[in-house]
Symmetry: C2
Subunit: 385 residues, 2 copies
């Protein structure tokens, strides 16, 4: 076993200090692992529970170098991390980066990601590279309307996606979309599923498939296990396992999938702990955040079995413009048995910004529908300003 | 409801930065509460997950004042905290202290504590104040040998306790014991039980009774629920509830009890989260650490029901002299389903020092005996140097 971190006082450097970094630091502490974060925003969410924060841009080589020199291993919690800078300075400082910068580079380009999956025989929605209007027209004539034009880089939470429903949309989209794009057939899916996977040192594991409930293209709730058939859930886990086998480097991956007519297609991969995996903190025996630290350290992975059916609901800023956050309505969460609050400590609330989440587990055998209703009520009662 | 802390960025100042402070900081983070700790040892266990550490003695008024000025509320995780200094500077800085310094002052003196409990009708082992040899002889003739002579202040984990079995011991003990003492009848108890209680804003709650298994007077394991009758467990919770009613100020209390012939006697009270309550992190829906933060903030308390039967086993330094810690044998903990590691990040291992703990919950309906055997095996496999 290759152990790159041993307690006490060994340090994990994280590029990015948002809520994922914060929950990584919360999970690292019981393992005796300390965390340093690099983030451009002073007092970033993770800074309160990190040993220290280096303030700098994600792609600033000098700050990344400083992080590498202070840490025993590097990881990232944001895809905006610069794989070239991380790979170079980590090699110079002699510390490993997990997952590998190569994996991050591949995943950052949605076209390369799709090609890579497709070449490996992993099912993805039909897609085409688009360099010009002729490419787009060719794809539309093959797929038929509607199609989705996607930015190859920088899109997340539905941003960078453009739905093309007719010829007028097609005429406008290439001017509207920033940078290089690809086009995908719009899959009529029954459900969006999500599997959290983890690659350790010579082992891999997947959590049971969850179901992502979106509103306005933003992930609102995750229901685990997904409300579909056992066969579909198993197929989702199997496809996610195939995805993990393709990945280079240890760590947690969030794998979003479409369920369409009982078949599974891979929609998107995040090479890091994922919003749809927050349920693992209360819902599983070992959380996605602890698994990520274990994987990076080369320690044995933990079980990925569910402890109970679980629902997580996101706390999204419902303000119309950014302002100082002044939360209210949290009493409901505190008073509800089986409900847990995760507040990310952001200084400012913005429209639809992820401010926290609420997880609900059963305390008296409640089923998923009850948990989902309860989670919705609780998050609906929270105010931000 | 009096809310003294609201997220985000509100700050809890803790006097003491050991493992209790560390686990408080881990639990405060998901609630959006930041932690500052005061501790004389640089890089104390809590410092890695605290926003910051003030380095200073627990009773240094200037450092306590600085803590009070930076925090929205004060608490302590060590009985060595100075109640007078905390009360005075907190009043000057206009921040509340929970539990009240008065409670800490009472509990710091084992004689005053016993008198206070006894006066309130709460059952305690028979005891006498001892000022001189005549007092001791009078107590011995009343209680009979053996008796336990206890330091009134500063004793913990059996330190400061002197077993007096005969006249020769009696002749020596007053010279050997530091400072003022009291004498207690040695109760032939069947079991030591422990109840974690919490006082919130106008409410109180108690966790189910656990059973403390000692070796060499050091708490080795806690088994929850205690392996006794339902009636005894309920009586223990009821007595602990009576103790809580006596306490002033919000927060968590660790209440150690003797079970003797089916009766319950109060042995000791700690006005803070307690080693015997670590099982609540995995074993209950809301941990003792989260309850402490909620109580201080004036937020509603959470349920104290068990999620599963649980065993916690302490990781105690097995070295003969202090040295740099270099842990080994943690793989067993990582590889065992339902086992969780809590490593406190202490820089140095010392004989019997608490270096961490392991908690085991069932993943396939295992009972307490299996969990206890598993926890012992796992902690027995860990090496420190």
């Amino acid at each position: 076993m290759t152990t790159s971190l041993t307690p006490p006082g060994r340090t994990l450097g994280i590029v990015g200090g948002g809520q994922l970094g914060r929950m990584l630091a919360e999970a690292a502490s019981p393992l005796g692992v300390e965390v340093l974060v690099l983030d451009p925003t002073p007092d970033c969410p993770a800074s309160a529970v990190a040993r220290d924060q280096l303030v700098g841009d994600f792609d600033d080589p000098e700050t990344v170098r400083k992080l590498a020199e202070l840490a025993d291993a590097l990881t990232f919690e944001i895809e905006l991390a610069d794989p070239d800078a991380m790979g170079r300075v980590a090699a110079e400082a002699g510390v490993p980066v997990h997952p590998s910068p190569e994996t991050l580079r591949t995943i950052q380009d949605k076209l390369v990601q799709n090609e890579w999956l497709s070449d490996a025989g992993i099912p993805v929605p039909p897609f085409q590279r688009v360099d010009d209007r002729a490419d787009l027209d060719a794809a539309i004539s093959e797929f038929g309307y509607p199609v989705m034009v996607k930015a190859r880089r920088g899109g997340y939470d539905g941003r960078g996606n453009f739905l093309v429903e007719d010829e007028a949309d097609a005429a406008d989209v290439l001017a509207a979309a920033p940078g290089d794009v690809l086009v995908e057939q719009v899959v009529e899916f029954d459900r969006e599923l999500s599997v959290i996977g983890v690659k350790g040192d010579g082992e891999r594991a997947t959590y049971p498939a969850g179901e992502n409930v979106h509103e306005a293209e933003i992930l609102q709730e995750t229901v685990v296990p997904a409300r579909t058939t056992e066969r579909v859930r198993e197929r989702a886990q199997a496809v996610a396992g195939d995805v993990l086998d393709l990945m280079e480097g240890r760590g947690v991956y969030g794998i979003e999938l479409f369920e369409a007519d009982g078949e599974i297609l891979v929609n998107e991969i995040a090479p890091r702990p994922h919003n749809s995996g927050h349920y693992t903190i209360e819902g599983a025996y070992v959380s996605q955040f602890e698994q990520h630290v274990r994987a990076i350290a080369g320690w044995p992975l933990g079980p990925t079995a569910l402890r109970d059916p679980t629902v997580t609901s996101n706390l999204l800023g419902d303000v119309e413009s950014p302002r100082h956050v002044e939360p209210g309505g949290l009493e409901g969460v505190f008073e509800t048995p089986g409900a847990a609050l995760h507040w990310y400590g952001k200084r400012e609330v913005r429209p639809l910004r992820k401010m926290g989440h609420v997880t609900v587990v059963p305390t008296a055998g409640e089923g998923r529908e009850t948990l989902l209703r309860r989670a919705r009520e609780l998050t609906g009662g929270v105010t931000y300003a």
